[in-house]
């Protein structure tokens, strides 16, 4: 429906070119139903497109900025506290997460551990909850879901692409927090050999490797809430509602995890083993709690992933 004149001109001039275009060009008519057989790697286009859509949203950028800002804030605070010399008179809560803060002024690498320990309980899972909750519900509410489905993206394929892109976001968000902490730590504090929680000393290079391993474990800790958020997202047509529900569930679970009387259910809560990543800093590393954490995350991914799939492949798309 281009304006009459230029359209006519366009169609007449390249008439000769168009004849050869017919074989391969985009204007080629479908000779038969099987004229355009899909190639398996073309399907990756949807995954790439999902990633672009997730990361180009301003909201995603804002979440990443918050995640980068938390370690910066912690680093600057520690730096100001310790200006007069000596170390932070922190809580001294044994070997639990926040304890890392005490070591930050002696070794900047510990800001990476402290930064992850500070963001894992809330900021990281909140960011993942927002992205996962919005994944399907946001598109349903915006109406773009129906066009993806008539494209046809295929319901299972679309859901898989969405879950994969949320998992990539888990990793990216964790790395943003970790890298920001690493840079701030190295910029503000002395760096050297790492004293493990067991009291032994390991070289900085190995400390860095363990930091990377910890970042990966933290990212893996978010697999469960990602699946939970995706399931919530398939239930409603409101992106905001799905995000709020997911973050609300996160807060509820965190509260339940901290009520001693409810210890019977606590081992089944996806947040329960989150701080197990600190065990990487023992010498030798103890794997029991880490293994439990990974197993629990896999269980949540399986249960809520299947629930999301069952719901999404059978539901009416009326928005």
């Amino acid at each position: 429906m281009s304006r009459a004149e230029p359209a006519a001109g366009r169609r007449e001039q390249p008439a000769t070119v168009e004849t050869q275009d017919h074989a391969t060009g985009p204007e080629a008519r479908p000779a038969a139903g099987a004229a355009r057989p899909p190639r398996w790697h073309w399907t990756l286009g949807l995954f790439r497109s999902e990633l672009v859509t997730v990361f180009r949203r301003r909201r995603t950028m804002a979440l990443c900025a918050v995640l980068a800002g938390v370690p910066l804030l912690v680093g600057v605070a520690v730096r100001i506290e310790t200006r007069g010399g000596g170390s932070v008179g922190g809580g001294g809560r044994g070997d639990a997460g926040p304890a890392f803060i005490e070591q930050v002024s002696n070794n900047g690498l510990f800001l990476t551990f402290a930064g992850l320990a500070a963001t894992l309980p809330f900021f990281l899972p909140m960011a993942v909850g927002v992205v996962a909750g919005d994944a399907v519900a946001g598109e349903a509410g915006g109406g773009t879901l129906r066009y993806l489905l008539v494209a046809p993206a295929g319901r299972s394929r679309l859901l898989l692409a969405k879950y994969a892109s949320v998992l990539v976001f888990c990793l990216a968000a964790t790395l943003v927090a970790a890298v920001s902490a690493l840079i701030v730590g190295f910029a503000l504090f002395p760096v050297g050999d790492v004293t493990t929680l067991s009291g032994t000393s390991i070289p900085l290079s190995e400390g860095m490797l363990r930091a990377l391993l910890i970042a990966l474990l933290v990212a893996a800790s978010l697999v469960g809430i990602a699946a939970l958020g995706l399931f919530v997202s398939t239930v409603t047509d409101s992106g905001i509602g799905a995000m709020a529900t997911t973050v609300g569930l996160l807060i509820t679970v965190q509260i339940v995890d901290n009520i001693p009387q409810l210890h019977a259910v606590q081992p089944y809560l996806f947040t329960h083993y989150w701080l197990s990543f600190a065990d990487i800093l023992r010498d030798p590393v103890t794997w029991t709690a880490i293994g439990r954490n990974l197993g629990l995350q896999a269980l949540y991914a399986a249960v809520f992933g299947s629930a999301a799939w069952a719901r999404f492949t059978s539901r009416d798309i009326t928005a």
């Binding site: 429906m1 281009s2 304006r3 009459a4 366009r10 391969t24 060009g25 985009p26 204007e27 080629a28 008519r29 479908p30 139903g33 355009r36 057989p37 899909p38 190639r39 073309w42 399907t43 286009g45 949807l46 790439r48 497109s49 672009v52 859509t53 180009r56 949203r57 301003r58 915006g142 109406g143 773009t144 129906r146 066009y147 993806l148 489905l149 008539v150 494209a151 046809p152 993206a153 295929g154 394929r157 679309l158 059978s314 009416d316 798309i317 009326t318």
Partner: protein
């Protein structure tokens, strides 16, 4: 598959297709047949079930009862094979506001597993060009006007050469020039052999472009067929305009014209249904002159689809309660 010859020339065929939402029966057992190569107008007042039918045809919602075949394959079961050959605009366009118009099309094209990524840019350019959006393709979609969004939605439906285009109220929000362009585009696509299934509640729009039409009301399919046949089923009305409506009325009644109504200086009435009893219009005119009736306008008005609709439903083109 059972009747290859019969099936080949029907692109949409439903049998007893029905959809019940919690309270309402939105679509009530319709048998729709859309011939290949037609421009098919799907008519009905607001809330009559047009969009619901289209959603079922596109596999977005599951029918409560009945079956639907699109391009000779069952829907929604064969969606992956059927939908790449179908372009659709359903209940208005939906876009990613934070992406440019071009990136919106890239996204929808990536969702099609049969779309070759190497020719994606060319496809997107061709589609943008076709709807006259090439110049605005770099703008964020949230900055688009309603008509521009509608055009971009159409462009998404035209990314691939399609066998069937399903357009739900495609001229919604367009300026008169845009409407004309859509009609031209529809004719052009039809000339290329694409079947166009066009829903609308604008009767004259359907009349202008469609070869076939179906009429929905309260979830039921009232009639379907070639447009001329639908309109021909209703007789045109005889109309006399002039300053002496009372006199004109008396003369017309003398010729057996029934259902006479006067509206200001215009008198209209139905000619007798029996073709043998229809008087020569020249005779009526002469009689009017002889009776001293001053006539400004005289003639038989062609039955419009609206007349056909009113005749079929016995009601106006209003939303059913």
């Amino acid at each position: 598959m059972a009747q290859p010859t019969a099936a080949a020339d029907v692109v949409i065929e439903t049998r007893g297709l029905a959809k019940q939402y919690r309270g309402t029966l939105a679509v009530d057992g319709i048998d729709l047949r859309v011939p290949r190569g037609s421009v098919f107008g799907f008519l009905g007042p607001n809330g009559s079930g047009k969009t619901t039918t289209i959603r079922m045809l596109m596999g977005l919602i599951a029918p409560t009862a009945g079956t639907a075949r699109v391009l000779d394959r069952p829907m929604p079961r064969a969606a992956r094979a059927v939908l790449p050959r179908v372009g659709a605009l359903i209940e208005g366009p939906a876009l990613y506001g934070f992406l440019s118009g071009r990136d919106n099309l890239v996204r929808y094209d990536s969702a099609d597993p049969t779309a070759d990524p190497r020719t994606r840019a060319a496809r997107v350019d061709a589609a943008l060009d076709r709807v006259g959006l090439a110049a605005a393709s770099g703008k964020k979609a949230k900055a688009y006007s309603l008509g521009m969004k509608q055009r971009l939605g159409l462009a998404a439906a035209l990314l691939q050469p399609r066998e069937l285009l399903v357009l739900d109220e495609p001229t919604n929000g367009l300026d008169p020039q845009g409407m004309r362009e859509i009609r031209a585009l529809v004719r052009e696509l039809a000339a290329d052999g694409t079947t166009v299934f066009l829903s609308s509640h604008l009767l004259d729009e359907i009349e202008q472009v469609c070869t076939h039409a179906a009429v929905m009301a309260r979830g039921r399919l009232i009639t379907q067929g070639p447009v001329e046949e639908l309109a021909a089923g209703t007789h045109g009305r005889l109309a006399v305009t002039g300053p002496d409506p009372a006199e004109a009325r008396r003369v017309l009644a003398g010729f057996g014209v029934t259902g006479l109504t006067a509206d200001g200086d215009r008198v209209t009435g139905d000619l007798p249904a029996d073709p043998a009893a229809v008087p020569d219009l020249a005779e009526i005119n002469a009689a009017l002159v002889a009776a001293g009736v001053r006539v400004r306008g005289f003639g038989r008005e062609r039955a419009s689809l609206e007349d056909a609709f009113v005749a079929l439903t016995g009601e106006g083109f209003d939303v059913a309660g």
